[in-house]
Symmetry: C2
Subunit: 253 residues, 2 copies
């Protein structure tokens, strides 16, 4: 079954050819994205397509200098967007009540389901993709860069282009580690050891521990990759963004 | 191309046969889900599978009595989950710093990308799906029902089963209404009229306006479907949940 195969063979690509993506292909991928489920068929999202070289160069800087952002021909920034819907409501004498956290999260869900459909459609076309987590870290900068009005917040970005590498597929936890039946079965120390064993025994893990001069893989995450200090800083950025973009007006509660 | 066809033919299904979903099929669908991109390969999500009739009956009540929740054989609740990762870190002398809003949002993104892969895989198997927006409204109730520990928040639910209806595909806004090139092009009143014209002229829209005795479709959204009062209430519920589940500790900032 081709669809299942496409999903199972996903690999994140971080090196891209400069070959452009045909407009017809890009349109087809986006149309496939827009068929994703959306709350109440409101489609409270927008996608910003970045193809111009200069723009991608600037975006590369915003996304912490990740080279693929400049290298790949297409960058798609997915935004939670109540601006269009609010404008429609106001133009129809319908007072919109979407300036709150629930509405932001609803719109974010919408945008993320579209993004994943686009990712799948792109891979079905032989393209490679990479999600950029830097989108939420740098949401304030992206709002300035794209000139996003109130009601619009970027939630993720896809790098899209033809792969210039063929990496091995990365590991995943065993399914029993992430699936629960009927109720949440919390993890015993033995469960944790078992679930993470394969990941901890990978040659890549040994190499990372050696390079980082740390005791184990978990410490690489907490001391190097996703530190408390960074998380607190970017939490503040993101909450400020939600406030500034008009999604935290709860006075009427 | 089968994958693109699967994506383009998506329809939300709200009536299901009672036929069970084979465990092998369900496992294959979930495995396809777990290949979705995940931040730093942390897989900070969990899926709770509900198949028992009694449980689905209870869940039906929590999800505002939507009959399909009891009718369909499988319900999948996707959770942002840092609990497992935190436990792993603590067991490895790595102090986790994931008790903040950024970490919640990172985990929510992870969970939503998995959910959409699962939705696509299910449809490729001839199954129908429906997303439940009530998951975030009733997050507090679901936390109680599933016994979710600190670090775990339900973000969406998929109803999965064999379709017992064959509805027409619903409309979408024209692509020009949701795609922006290089920068965000804000909407003029004429843009809004043009983008929403097709939706406003649908026979279904005329019928809804008639049934609701309102002036237009936008008012149906703001006065009936997604009111400011409800949005404010559920914003508070969701923010309280994030606080209670340990994702709003920003004192160290």
């Amino acid at each position: 079954m081709e669809t299942i195969k496409t999903l199972l063979e996903h690999k994140t690509i971080r090196k891209y050819k400069s070959d452009p993506v045909d407009d017809k292909v890009l349109d087809e991928i986006l149309d496939a994205g827009f068929r994703a489920s959306t709350t109440g068929n409101m489609q409270v999202y927008s996608v910003i397509v970045s193809k111009e070289r200069d723009k991608r160069k600037e975006l590369c800087k915003i996304h912490f200098g990740q080279e693929m952002v400049e290298q790949a021909p297409v960058l798609l920034t997915f935004c939670a967007d109540f601006n269009r819907f609010n404008k429609w409501c106001r133009q129809r004498d319908a007072d919109p009540g979407y300036d709150n956290f629930l509405s932001f999260f609803t719109a974010a869900i919408d945008a993320l389901l579209v993004a994943q459909n686009v990712a799948v459609a792109a891979e079905a076309h032989g393209l490679g993709i990479c999600y950029l987590g830097t989108t939420t870290y740098q949401a304030d900068k992206l709002i300035g860069f794209f000139d996003l009005p109130s009601g619009v917040v970027p939630v993720t970005t896809l790098v899209v282009g033809y792969p210039d590498e063929n990496p091995d597929q990365v590991d995943r936890l065993p399914a029993e580690g992430v699936v629960h039946h009927e109720t949440y079965k919390d993890y015993s120390p033995e469960d944790i050891d078992r679930i993470y064993r394969e990941k901890e025994q990978l040659p890549l893990t040994a190499q990372l521990i050696d390079e980082n001069q740390l005791d184990n893989l978990a410490q690489i995450f907490t001391f190097k990759r996703y530190t408390k200090k960074d998380n607190l800083h970017f939490s503040r950025v993101l909450l400020d963004v939600l406030h500034d973009q008009g999604f935290m007006n709860h006075e009427g509660d």
